[in-house]
Point group: C2
Chain length 96, copies 2
């Protein structure tokens, strides 16, 4: 299934900037960066649970925001992209 992950990490402090780097790194490891703070990840339920746990370990829930959108398996018709950085679909099809 496609899981869209979006985040706002408060980068006012060095700790915040470190959290941002860690969140991005975890997401890069599991999916496709489509915008600066937006990742699309093809995950099975177990992988999703694990990634969520990893991200929740990193973020500061009193300062940051983390959202998950579950787009299921039939997600291709649910996404439209305009402008730069069209994502290469992880299953091999370019999403336009």
């Amino acid at each position: 299934m496609l899981v869209l992950i979006t985040y706002d990490v408060n980068t006012e402090s060095a700790k915040g900037r470190a959290r941002l780097r860690k969140v991005a790194k975890q997401c890069v490891n599991h999916g496709q960066r489509v915008q600066n703070s937006v990742f699309e990840c093809i995950l099975d339920p177990g992988q999703c649970k694990l990634l969520k746990a990893q991200l929740l370990e990193i973020v500061d829930l009193e300062k940051d925001s983390l959202r998950f959108y579950y787009l299921g398996n039939n997600y291709k018709s649910k996404i439209e992209h305009y402008g730069i950085k069209a994502s290469i679909n992880q299953e091999g099809v370019l999403i336009l």
Copy 2:
């Protein structure tokens, strides 16, 4: 239906910063800001078409990125939020 709109606007120039302000303003007018560059909008197909046309008038497709995710009408179970700025659902229910 719920339409999730995410964007990255290149703010290296004053023109880019102006585009960012205009994109955000249009989105604020039509939906709920859930993160800095992420909006959730409850729209019918006509409203969606209009908002999309307005945003595409503003952005620079060679510098910016604009994505639409169509989450349909049964979107509540498809969204999870952690951390700050939990959104007030526009239909009256807090999405947690």
